[in-house]
Each structure stands twice: as structure tokens, then as C-alpha cells.
């Protein structure tokens, strides 16, 4: 878990501290700067996951026809991204008080420029994640500004240990769930109202409406789990720029089944084997395989302009970077 200390409490932190002091007058919180926690980098251990191929009998590479720049097209009409920020405001009696901020929004492309989707305003939500049981109270306090989420119990409702790091992890988990939920709401609205495909930063299997929509295309940049068997790894790593893998089916507990494939959007020569590699998810429909090449070309086309200086620029579409910058500006 990586933390960084700001120069002073920001406006939302100060408001949260003021709220806490009024709700829990007997606990002592200082006005010290909040510690900002990054998303856990290693939440899931790296692993391989066997999948069912729905194209080819063997995991293979498929070269896409290279198109001159002038002929490149993309069917994506919008780009969805979400962001989250977790700040530990204080540790009264060793109990972490966490302020979680999540945001999501869609940027539409109109005449080659990205603007905010007008059908649904971008959303920013702030919540206080408090282990109320350890703070000497069980009541859920709320204000107009803050919703309080109790972190005293785990997902199944069982009580958790008072280990401060465990409580922070629990809060972070809840913040992440909140962000995913917010993103899903945006994706669902898009799929219900729009007629052009949506480029989603991440998977689409979290929502049934999204996972079954022909308009949702999820592009995953992280590869903690590789959906293939050991024997297929050389084929995956050998993918050249503009080559995709066979299409396979991804299923997970509590998630919807989707069709997926890998696509190399930048040459990995001299880089690590996952450089420029994305995994794409679409609805597992009967025509899924027939759409794969076209969608792959769209994703390739979205690799320009570059998303530098973002560290993930090798995999990130410019539309997603724009959405991230936009969310950073408003949250």
C-alpha cells in the first residue's frame, strides 16, 4: 500500500473532519494532512486461468489487415472511465477514518473532439468509511454532505478485526466496489439510450445489462490474471502489433460470461511481454466472433494520439486518458 502526504487537508477532507468532530465529539481527530492511498497494486495474485475457446481449436494469433492512417475508423462514440481516491484522515485510538471519493463519466466524441456526455452528468461521490463499532457507536450518522459506510463488518456481515490495516483494506474494497457500481450505472444508461459502441476502461462483466449489450466494449489494461493455459503463453507473447488472439469465453463467479480476446496495439520489441497488450471484452453473443476483427481495428485506431505522459500509455486509449483527466479536474 503506497501512501503520500499532502501539504494540508483539502476542502473535502476538512469538511469530513468537521463532520466527524460534530458527530463524534468524544474522539480526537487532528487537522493533520490526509494520507492518500493508491489503489492496491497487488490486490489479486498473478495467475493463469483456463478458458474455453470459441474461435479456433487452439489458441492462435490472427493478424489484422493493416490499414493506412487515412482509412482508419472507429465506431466508438464514447469513452467511460471511473476514478477513486482513498484518504485516511485520522487514526483516533488507532481506528482509521477513511474518506473515499469515486467519480465516473463518459466523454463523447463529436467532430473529433471529446466532450462530456449530455445524457448523464459526470458523478462524484464522497463517503466516509468508518468502523463504527470501534468508534464507540453503532448508529450510522449521515449528513447532507457525507454518507457514512460502516466498515466494521465484512461482505458476509461478520465482524472484522480491529487491525487498522485490515480496516483500511476493507474501506478500500468498499470504495472500489462503489466505483465499479458507479461505472456500471453509466454504462447501463449508455447502452439503454445510445446507438454507438462505448469504450469502457475495464471489464464489462460486472453488470448483466452491460455484459449482454452489443454496444459495450471493455478494454482491460491489467493482466494480473491471464486467461489461457501455460501452453498458449508463447503464442500470446509472440503477438505482434496489430495481431489478436483467438476468441475465448471468460466466466467468473458473481460475474457474467463474456467473449474476450487479446490484442497487441503497440510493438513489444525490447519491452516486457505484456507491453501494448490489451484484453477486450464484448457480449457473448452468437455473432461475437464476427465482430472481433472490426472492434480490434477500432481499438487499434484509438491508440492515437498517445496517452503520454500516463505511465500506462502503451495500453491506454487517448479517450480514456481524457476521461481520467476530466474526472481528476472535477473530483
Amino acid at each position: 500500500m503506497i501512501g503520500s502526504r499532502n501539504s494540508g487537508p483539502d476542502l473535502s477532507s476538512r469538511a469530513a473532519l468537521t463532520f466527524l468532530k460534530s458527530e463524534f465529539p468524544d474522539i480526537s481527530v487532528s487537522d493533520a494532512p490526509a494520507v492518500v492511498l493508491e489503489r492496491p497494486a497487488a490486490a489479486d495474485p498473478p495467475r493463469l486461468s483456463a478458458v474455453e475457446l470459441i474461435e479456433h481449436k487452439k489458441f492462435s494469433s490472427v493478424p489484422l489487415v493493416a490499414e493506412p492512417a487515412a482509412n482508419r475508423t472507429s465506431g466508438f462514440g464514447g469513452f467511460l472511465d471511473g476514478a477513486q481516491k482513498v484518504q485516511v484522515l485520522a487514526y483516533p485510538k488507532g481506528v482509521p477514518i477513511v474518506l473515499g471519493t469515486v467519480s465516473a463519466g463518459i466523454r463523447c466524441r463529436v467532430e473529433r473532439r471529446l466532450i462530456t456526455w449530455k445524457e448523464r452528468d459526470p458523478a462524484v461521490e464522497r463517503k466516509l468509511y468508518l468502523p463504527l463499532a470501534f468508534l464507540g457507536g453503532t448508529r450510522l450518522a449521515s449528513s447532507e454532505r457525507f454518507e457514512v459506510v460502516d466498515t466494521s463488518a465484512d461482505r458476509e456481515g461478520a465482524g472484522v478485526d480491529a487491525h487498522p490495516l485490515g480496516l483500511v483494506d476493507r474501506a478500500m474494497q468498499l470504495v472500489q466496489e462503489n466505483r465499479e457500481s458507479l461505472e456500471n450505472r453509466f454504462a447501463e444508461d449508455w447502452c439503454d439510450t445510445e446507438g454507438t459502441p462505448l469504450f469502457i476502461d475495464g471489464g464489462i462483466s460486472g453488470s448483466a445489462r452491460v455484459a449482454t449489450s452489443g454496444l459495450a466494449v471493455g478494454v482491460i489494461k491489467s493482466h494480473r490474471t491471464l486467461y489461457l493455459e501455460d501452453s498458449a503463453l508463447p503464442t500470446l507473447f509472440a503477438l505482434k502489433k496489430g495481431e489478436r488472439s483467438s476468441v475465448f469465453r471468460v466466466s467468473a463467479r458473481s460475474r457474467r460470461t463474456v467473449a474476450s480476446w487479446y490484442l497487441r496495439i503497440r510493438s513489444a520489441a525490447g519491452q516486457d511481454p505484456l507491453w501494448g497488450l490489451v484484453r477486450i471484452e464484448i457480449a457473448d453473443s452468437p455473432d461475437a466472433v464476427s465482430r472481433v476483427d472490426e472492434i480490434s481495428r477500432w481499438v487499434l485506431a484509438e491508440s492515437s494520439p498517445l496517452s503520454l505522459p500516463d505511465g500506462r500509455w502503451d495500453k491506454m486509449a487517448y479517450g480514456i486518458r481524457d476521461a481520467e483527466e476530466f474526472l481528476r479536474a472535477i473530483s
Binding site: 482508419r72 466524441r109 473529433r112 494520439p305 498517445l306
Partner: protein, 649 residues
């Protein structure tokens, strides 16, 4: 109310101040350098929502690209591919505006955050403080042009009290040659001035010195006015018509046959007058023509002596053989000859404390004047001058010196301006306010070089003229090369398209780089204005003058060629009497010398008599034509005396 076109932004690195602020706009907003904007604050100050007016002085555009290298990498070094990116990078238009006015004006605070609107016409009036002099009943506004931005068109007014005095005065125009900006701007401004100068402030006229080409030669002739200009005229409340009353003055050519002006076409001669001076007029301004290095205190003393003791007086001296009445260069030369002859005869070296060498030198220099300024200065003293004392309201008096030698130009300029000043001091010029337009100020009031009479006079006008109602409208190509006090005293400065070298001089350092760039690329008909009420320079558009342009006029009314003496006299007299024929002129002048004929013509033109023929003939001396001698009648001889007649002789 229009919708906002931008938002004020400020960062720690680029904060707003009481005199400058920053705002961003949409990419397609109509904002540009010179656009006037209004900021509506959000927090009331002492119960009033602040409003800030500013003018855009700088603009920035950038994307989220961190280094150019990222773009190169993104398109594999192929610029042609770059244009096909499906998404344009996020881009900003960020502008810096200089504050024109804050309301309330106190307390003066940094510009607050707020929405930015395009200024509409009422906003422009407030921003430029024009509301203070466009009040009903006390309107002293003189339209100078139209400010345009987005959909806004607003008339920009100068304050007559600050243009013609008494608060401040004078106007200076700078611009490159060849774009007709300077002359056109002055012609337009004079039209506007004559139309809008408040009646209660009295009469106004203008004296314009035409120093090059046919620029000012057709002010009374209609010019081409495009529809777009017609709309501007309507907006500015000026009729698109030539000047109603214009009088032209020009000296004769060296030969003296015709006037030395491009406006010599017979169709236009009705208001062209000769400008000729005699000894009296010239001697007052002799120092203009005399090289100061050459003429020392001793020479000065002799010139003063001639001016005070000799000129127009009956001068007697034991040295002289007769009484001299010196009224012309010819008389003066005769006087000098006698003085020098007398000294030679007496073998004396000085006369009345003046050394013979000084006398010779002054004679040489003064006699030379009529040669150097031939056409302007007459040997015999005929004077045809501007109508000092009878100047008329809303009249332009053009003095054409374009084809004259530098000396003659200086003399004309010095004498006319001095006379104007004298009359204005005595309040008997005929008008209360007078605008003097001088082009090529680089030449007449340079920032470097020797001090001369003309420059001293221009300095004097610029520093004290406004108290007299004498206002200098001056123009030049390089403002940096004009004497600082002359341009510094011009309350209003106008800039047309500028030379980039000139813009690089320190005088323009207060302008932003973007404003300087705009100045270097201004269109015809666009000006940048500085005026005491405007805290920042303003860009305006003015209509093409509704008078015939010099080049067009020269083609339509070609100048008369200097032909024979008879033809020149015929053309001149026919302006007074259309019935006069060339044959009549030839018959009338056949017996006289060229000098006599010119003298008679000049006198006739000056007198403008009813009976032109009679007057013209009366100017000649009587000559009885030679007749063939008749043969004497033979008288019959009386009878002869006898040879031996004792009474005969």
C-alpha cells in the same frame, strides 16, 4: 443578454492582478487580440457586483501534449498520418486581457473569478470611459471608427476636449507608406471632425500641407464608396461626401507659367490659388533659409538692420546716390549694389558697423533666395497668400508643396504656421480652432540632427498650441525617429500597419507581442488608437475616405503641362473670364516681356476684377506701336535769292 464566452482563471503561477487577468474560451469563440470583454464578478464588493472590462492583449493555445516528442512518437514520425487521428487532443484557448476599467473603481482589487462576456456597444462605451463625454447636452465625442468583434459593432469616439484642446490636444499617426493609411485616416478624421465638432465650441478649419504626390489634391471630388464603407459612414454619423469647402494654394513653377501642383487640370482650377511672396514676407523668416553655420551674429545683425531700417522705408544715406525704397528682391539688390559701390569708391571696409565682407555675404545669401525658391518668391514683390483673417468655418486649406525644393517647403511651412499662430493669438484668424496637418514628420521634426527653425516651431505648437486652438495632426512612417516632445505631446496616437523594425524599437515595449504582431499585419482601414480616456490601445476600423484618392484623381484630372506663356496666361485668365481667347491673350501680350506678362497675370488673378480684360491690359506700360513713317509732302520751293543779293546770308 448574450451567453458567456469564457471563464476567468488564475493560478499561483499566473495570478490575476488589478490590471491584468486570464480567461479561457471555447475553441470557436470570436475572441481575438483587441477584443473587448466584460467580466461579471460573483461576490459583491460593498454591495455591488464588480464588473471588469478588459481588452485581449495576448493569447495562448496548447494541448495536453507534454512534449512535441510524444506527438512524433504517436505518429511514427509521419506528419501526414497525424491528421487522421480519430480524436483531437484536448486543447485550450487561453487569453490574457488588460483591464480597461473596473466598476466600482474603488477599492481597486485583483480581477475576481467570473464569467466572461463579449462586450456589447454599451459595454464598450463604459470600458473606454466614453460615457463621460457622450452625455446628452455635453457630448464632445468625435467618431474615429468602429470597434468590431464577434457580433458587436460599437462606435469609438474621441473626446474633442482632448483632441483639440483645451484639456489636451494633437494627434499623431504612424504607419508604413503605400497603404494610404495615414492620409486616408486624416481625411476621414477631418470629415468626422467637421461633422461632429460641437457647434458651441466654435468654428474649425484645417490647413493641410500636401508634401508628396497628389495625396490631398482632390479633397473636393467624390471618391468611390463601397457598400461596406457606406454602412460604416451611417454608423458613424458622417455623410459619405467630399469636403464642401476646399481651397488650394501652390507656388508657381520656376518658370512661373503654371502653378507647381498636380491639381493644375483646367477643370479643377476654380479653387486653386497662387502662393507667392515678396521680400517682406520672406525676410521675416530668412533664418529658415539661411544655413546657421554660415550666417553668424554679424550677418544676423545686418539682416535685422535691413528688416527694421531698410525694408518698406525710404532709406537715405550719404553713401548712396539716391533714396531707396526697398520692397522687392529687385529693390534690395539695387540697394546692395549701391552700398557696395559706395564703399568701393570710398575705399572703406565698413559701413554702419557692418563689414564689407558681411555685406557681400548677406547680399549673396538673400539674393540667392529668390533663385532657390523661384516660383514662390517673386523678385517684384507680388503677394498672394492664404486668407489670414478670413478663414472660414469647416474649410480645408491645402498648401501643395509636394514639388518644391526642401528650402521652399521649409519656408512655406514656417511662415504659414507662424502666421496662423499670430492670428490665433490675436483671435482674428476667422476661425476659433485650426488643425494643421503635416506629413513626413520624420523630416520636419527629427529626433536627431541639428536644431532648426521648423522643428522648433513644431515643438512650440505641440507644447503650447492647444491654448491657442492650434492643433497639430502629424504623420510619419517611423515614430521612433520623430522628436520625442512632438509625439509625446500628442494626446491621441493612431497607428496603421507598422514596420516590424519600427515595432522592435523601445517605444513599443509597452505593447504585448501579440498586439505588436497585430499592428504589423493590420489591414487597410484598420487603426490602433491611443487616447487619454482609453487605458489601453483600441483597434478600430474606419471607412475609406469619401474623397477621390490621389492616384485616381491624377488619372482622371491629369495635370496641365507647362506649355507656352500665352497658353498659361490664357488658362489662368479664363478661370476669371471664360470668354477670353488665346488669340486675345497673344495679341495683348505680344509687345511685352515675359516678366511683364507674368506680373500682369499675377496681379489680375490676385485682384479678381470684374472686367478681366481691361484690368489685365491696364497692368502693362503704354507702348505706342511703331508706325511706318509717312513720306513728307514736298513743299514747293520759294523762289531762290539772287546770288548777289546784298541782304542775303
Amino acid at each position: 443578454m448574450t451567453s458567456a464566452l469564457g471563464r476567468v482563471v488564475a493560478t499561483e503561477r499566473k495570478p490575476n492582478t488589478p490590471h491584468e487577468f486570464h480567461f479561457w474560451t471555447a475553441l470557436d469563440s470570436p475572441v481575438g487580440i483587441g477584443t473587448i470583454v466584460r467580466v461579471d464578478g460573483t461576490q459583491p464588493i460593498e454591495g455591488q457586483i464588480p464588473r471588469i472590462y478588459g481588452i485581449v492583449v495576448e493569447g495562448f493555445s496548447y494541448t495536453d501534449l507534454q512534449t512535441p516528442m510524444h506527438d512524433v512518437l504517436g505518429h511514427d514520425g509521419s506528419p501526414s498520418d497525424a491528421g487522421y487521428a480519430l480524436t483531437e487532443r484536448a486543447e485550450i484557448r487561453l487569453y490574457t486581457a488588460a483591464v480597461l476599467r473596473q466598476i466600482p473603481e474603488e477599492p481597486l482589487q485583483p480581477v475576481p473569478m467570473g464569467q466572461v462576456f463579449l462586450a456589447e456597444e454599451p459595454d464598450v462605451q463604459i470600458a473606454l470611459r466614453m460615457d463621460t463625454y457622450l452625455r446628452e447636452g455635453a457630448n464632445t465625442g468625435i467618431p474615429i471608427g468602429v470597434y468590431r468583434a464577434g457580433g458587436t459593432e460599437a462606435t469609438v469616439y474621441l473626446d474633442a476636449d482632448f483632441l483639440l484642446g483645451p484639456e489636451a490636444a494633437h494627434l499623431n499617426i504612424t504607419g508604413v507608406s503605400g497603404l494610404a493609411t495615414k492620409t486616408s485616416a486624416v481625411e476621414w478624421l477631418l470629415s468626422s471632425l467637421f461633422t461632429h465638432f460641437p457647434e458651441e465650441k466654435g468654428s474649425i478649419a484645417a490647413v493641410c500641407f500636401n508634401v508628396k504626390g497628389p495625396d490631398l489634391c482632390y479633397l473636393d471630388q467624390p471618391g468611390r464608396v463601397e457598400d461596406s464603407d457606406r454602412k460604416l459612414y451611417e454608423k458613424l454619423g458622417v455623410k459619405p461626401e467630399p469636403f464642401e469647402k476646399v481651397q488650394y494654394f501652390a507656388p508657381y513653377t520656376a518658370k512661373g507659367f503654371t502653378l507647381n501642383t498636380l491639381r493644375s487640370n483646367p477643370a479643377l482650377m476654380h479653387n486653386v490659388n497662387a502662393l507667392t511672396w515678396g521680400l517682406r514676407e520672406v525676410l521675416q523668416y530668412a533664418e529658415v533659409l539661411l544655413n546657421r553655420d554660415d550666417v553668424d551674429a554679424k550677418a544676423d545683425a545686418l539682416i535685422d538692420f535691413i528688416r527694421e531700417q531698410v525694408l518698406d522705408k525710404q532709406f537715405d544715406d550719404p553713401l548712396l546716390t539716391r533714396t531707396h525704397t526697398v520692397q522687392s528682391f529687385a529693390d534690395l539688390d539695387a540697394w546692395f549694389r549701391e552700398v557696395l559701390r559706395g564703399l568701393e569708391q570710398k575705399d572703406d571696409q565698413s559701413w554702419r558697423t557692418h563689414h564689407v565682407a558681411t555685406i557681400r555675404k548677406v547680399r549673396n545669401r538673400l539674393s540667392n533666395i529668390s533663385t532657390r525658391c523661384a516660383g514662390l518668391v517673386t523678385d517684384f514683390g507680388e503677394v498672394s497668400d492664404l486668407p489670414f483673417g478670413e478663414f472660414e468655418d469647416r474649410t480645408v486649406y491645402v498648401v501643395d508643396v509636394a514639388n518644391l525644393e526642401e528650402d521652399a517647403q521649409d519656408l512655406i511651412f514656417a511662415r504659414i504656421v507662424s502666421k496662423l499662430r499670430e492670428h490665433l493669438e490675436r483671435r482674428d484668424l476667422g476661425v476659433k480652432h485650426l488643425v494643421v496637418f503635416v506629413d513626413e514628420l520624420n523630416k520636419y521634426a527629427p529626433s536627431d540632427g541639428l536644431d532648426n527653425y521648423v522643428r522648433k516651431m513644431l515643438l512650440d505648437i505641440s507644447e503650447r498650441g492647444r491654448y491657442l486652438g492650434l492643433v497639430l495632426f502629424s504623420a510619419q512612417q517611423f515614430r521612433s525617429q520623430v522628436h520625442r516632445r512632438v509625439v509625446g505631446n500628442s494626446s491621441t496616437s493612431v497607428f496603421g500597419r507598422m514596420d516590424s523594425d519600427e515595432l522592435a524599437t523601445p517605444g513599443y515595449a509597452t505593447l504585448s507581442p501579440a498586439t505588436r504582431t497585430k499592428l504589423a499585419t493590420l489591414d487597410k482601414g484598420q487603426l490602433m488608437i491611443r487616447h487619454p480616456h482609453f487605458t489601453q490601445p483600441i483597434f478600430v476600423r474606419f471607412p475609406r475616405p469619401s474623397v477621390m484618392q490621389g492616384r485616381e484623381g491624377a488619372e482622371k484630372f491629369p495635370a496641365a503641362r507647362e506649355g507656352s506663356l500665352d497658353a498659361a496666361v490664357f488658362r489662368a485668365l479664363r478661370q476669371l473670364d471664360p470668354d477670353i481667347t488665346l488669340n486675345w491673350v497673344q495679341d495683348a501680350t505680344a509687345l511685352y516681356t515675359e516678366q511683364e506678362v507674368l506680373k500682369a497675370r499675377n496681379a489680375t488673378l490676385l485682384a479678381k476684377p470684374k472686367d478681366v480684360r481691361a484690368f489685365f491690359l491696364s497692368q502693362f506700360r503704354r507702348i505706342i506701336p511703331a508706325q511706318q513713317a509717312h513720306e513728307r509732302p514736298v513743299v514747293a520751293a520759294i523762289k531762290g535769292l539772287p546770288l548777289d543779293d546784298p541782304y542775303g546770308f
